[in-house]
């Protein structure tokens, strides 16, 4: 029988400061970049025109650029999309200028005729695979919808947590979820992924998924708090994370197997969605262990609860660990031995 991490006894919480550093190193530059350059919103949100073309042979983005320039279509982004002979042309609506409804449509038609002039007539020399023309009004509405979805899911999550846990656990879970959103935004920014409504959907699904991971660890924490009356919270948290570790590895392994398959095989349209999901599973696991648990410890220390041994949350000085962590520098402080495993 294969057993991964059976009876694991890693001192996860000890490494929390390294984890904070790592996550800050991801979030802060990513967020700075986000504040400076914003996100690459899909034309669903900005309004504009997207055309996906397949040419008979690879012509290069330059050739398409010159075709559009000749037709006086400026400010269009041209990007190779998946195969060598497929391109996506995006023309977003500028934010400042007043745009008439229906103009995005005309852009689509203008691009078509510009391509026909440069590349040759339609079905033989190029094929338009996909056209999206979104007017400013629909774009604004979709922004509102995405915003409503995010807000509503936060609200429901909060209500659910309030119903499920006492507020200390709930707050820790919310902060972990918030962390996940920040890292995911940073991730999207680093890879410059296109943010469409489907990607927003992926982020929200991930919020549910990561929350669920935190809940499973917290459930175990609650159970262990009742079971081992003598342990302090630090040990209980480590014990609970270690006990749920096989489950975390297995579940994330299977889910990640499907999302990685989607990233690699499901085609260009789904790729941003699948990439966000894959990263989200990763960050969700990380935050359940390294954000939710230490934050809970901190909260219990600051505002001790009746049951949780908040006052003893941090390791007592002079205690001896059962298994000294291998890479512990100095080795001065340690964990008190576990009464039961």
């Amino acid at each position: 029988m294969i057993r991964l991490f059976a009876n694991a006894n890693y001192d996860f919480i000890k490494w929390r400061r390294w984890a904070y550093g790592l996550t800050a190193a991801i979030i802060i530059p990513g967020f700075a970049l986000f504040l400076v350059r914003g996100l690459n919103y899909s034309i669903e949100f900005t309004g504009g025109t997207l055309i996906q073309v397949q040419t008979a042979e690879p012509v290069g983005t330059e050739r398409i650029r010159s075709a559009l320039d000749a037709a006086n279509i400026r400010d269009a982004e041209i990007q190779q999309f998946g195969a060598a002979n497929e391109y996506v042309i995006r023309a977003r609506i500028g934010r400042a200028d007043q745009v008439v409804e229906g103009s995005t449509e005309m852009t689509a038609a203008a691009v078509d005729s510009a391509l026909a002039r440069t590349l040759g007539p339609a079905p033989e020399h190029y094929k338009i695979l996909r056209t999206e023309a979104v007017g400013p009004k629909v774009g604004r509405e979709l922004q509102g919808k995405a915003f409503a979805a995010i807000l509503l899911s936060f609200l429901v999550t909060l209500v659910y947590l309030a119903f499920r846990f006492e507020w200390r656990f709930g707050l820790a879970a919310v902060l972990a979820t918030f962390h996940d959103i920040l890292t995911t935004i940073a991730f999207i920014r680093y890879l410059d992924l296109e943010v469409s409504l489907v990607v927003v959907g992926a982020v929200l699904t991930m919020v549910g998924y990561s929350l669920n991971d935190t809940i499973i660890i917290f459930d175990r924490v609650r159970e262990n708090l009742h079971k081992f009356r003598r342990q302090n919270l630090y040990e209980i948290l480590n014990l609970s994370i270690n006990e749920t570790l096989p489950r975390s590895v297995l579940t994330h392994g299977t889910t990640m197997a499907t999302t990685v398959a989607l990233v690699l095989l499901a085609g260009e349209v789904l790729r941003p969605f699948a990439l966000v999901m894959t990263f989200a599973i990763f960050t969700g696991t990380f935050s359940s262990i390294y954000i939710a648990a230490p934050v809970l410890m901190y909260i219990e220390k600051r505002w001790p609860g009746e049951d949780a041994r908040g006052a003893r949350a941090l390791r007592p000085p002079g205690s001896v660990p059962l298994n000294p962590p291998p890479a512990a520098p100095g080795g001065g402080s340690a964990v008190r031995s576990k009464a039961a495993v």
Binding site: M1, I2, L4, E101, G102, T104, E105, A108, K127, I128, L129, R130, T131, E132, A133, G135, K137, V138, L142, K145, A146, A148, A149, L152, S153, V156, Y160, L197, V198, G201, L204, T205, V207, G208, Y209, N212, I215, I216, D219, P246, R247, L250, T254, T255, M256, A257, T258, T259, V260, A261, L262, L264, L265, A266, G267, V269, L270, F273, A274, M277
Partner: protein, 550 residues
Amino acid sequence: MRTIRSRLIAVGILLAIAVWQLIPTNVTQRVRDATTGRMKDTTIRRVPINLGLDLQGGIHLALEVDQSKGPVPDCATAIQLAEKVVRTRIDEFGTTEPVVQIQGRCRLIVELAGEKDPARAKSIIQRTAFLEFRITDMKNLFRDALPEIDKALQRAGVRASGQGAAAASVTQLFGTDTAKAKGKARKGKAAAKDTTDLNAPGPLSSLLFQGQLPGEYLVPEEQVPVAESLLARPDVQRLIPRGVELRWGTEVLSRAGRSYRTLYAGEDRPIITGEYLQDAKATRDPLTNQSVVTFTLSRAGGRIFERETGRHVNDYMAIILDGRVQGQPPIIKSQIGQRGQIELGAKPLQDAQDLALVLKAGALPAPLTIIEERTIGPSLGQDSIRDGIRAGIVGVALVVLIMVVYYRVSGLLAVAALVLYVVFTLGGLAGFGFTLTLPGLAGLVLSVGIAVDANVLIFERIREELQHGKLVRTAVDEGFKHAMSAIIDSNVSTLLTAFILWLVGTGPVQGFAITLIIGILASFITAVFVVRTFYMIWLDRRPDMATLSV
């Protein structure tokens, strides 16, 4: 044993329902005939899962009333008119299940699956409505011309066909046949062949049944494509009497269990067009309890109408919107001026309202602007399906591998349950008539990964219980019991987000949310109930089992 049996029966019933939903059924599809360019019905057999536009290709349009040339005060009415008009024109598209629906108050959504020519579709939809009144063929000129037309068709080798076979192929088939026959009958017997054929009912007249009014004909629904292609032939067009034009009606009548489409022969010149119409209202006469549509014409229109109706008292007047006769033509009882009314008798008020909308559509040409367009080529849709299925197979294979290698026999049970899970999910999609979109496909694959989570939770718990020295049977019981709260938690939190996405999302995102919701529900049934049943059977057969393969 009894509980095992009842559990197996429950699983069996669920499986039977899911499989029943997935049995391929015959679906009628309207496709464009390659040779004649006209629409015809074909039947294909397919699994009844609706595919979204992003998977089968097609056009999605959102339209609003054009307000750029001055505001339109009542956009809700204007969009109702537009809906009526677009519905009338929908036959021009090659679409199986066209979607025309009003979204919110003032927006029209049109979805045409499989339509390949967006420019043509848009021009048809955006064209302003054209309304005209024409007098029907009171002198039965068309009926009198029918024998001539039949004869011409027979000369061309078209025989009356009782079967509703596709017109073009019938024509061609018999065309070559008669060519051969002529070759044989060249020895001076061509005339004899003509006389024998005259006794048989004509190719065209056998398709037409006289309606209640002069100039009204009924064509059996399944013969409509045949009649259409016969009438489109140039030799038939030449023989249609001068001053007569044929127009199909929108109504489908059913008589004695068969449905018929109406075909009207009318004058080729309208007595008045919609530009003179100012208003139309549907009311119910309180005295007679009849549905009535009253309409008002402009002054100039009133003068024309007065003159024309004066000449056509007791004639029937077809109301034609975009070339299609709307409803049954009313009779002109007396001369009508600027104001008139159309009595619909005992028909429901809804019919009167529809007719009023038709009249207004001609009166109020509301130009539509396209505020959103998504066109997906059919090849891209096919690529998406292929890639999605490929990714799904690889992803699921990896999940199966992980489960079987890690949990061995118990993993096999979970995989067996996973097969049921896939069948349940697809059955649910088909049964509730939800649409599978590209993100939905991703949701389906993803939910397989999430689905095994419940089993992982249970198996890990069983392992822990076994480690604590519990007996196999107790360990299994305890494992299921203790894992339950975590399973419910994880399912509820994902369900909640999926439900919100479904509430606020648009088409593709809703597709994702729906597959996720159905997937989670199905996984709950399979991972908990089905796997538990498998365990029960397993433990029942090997009651003395000391170690569990988990």
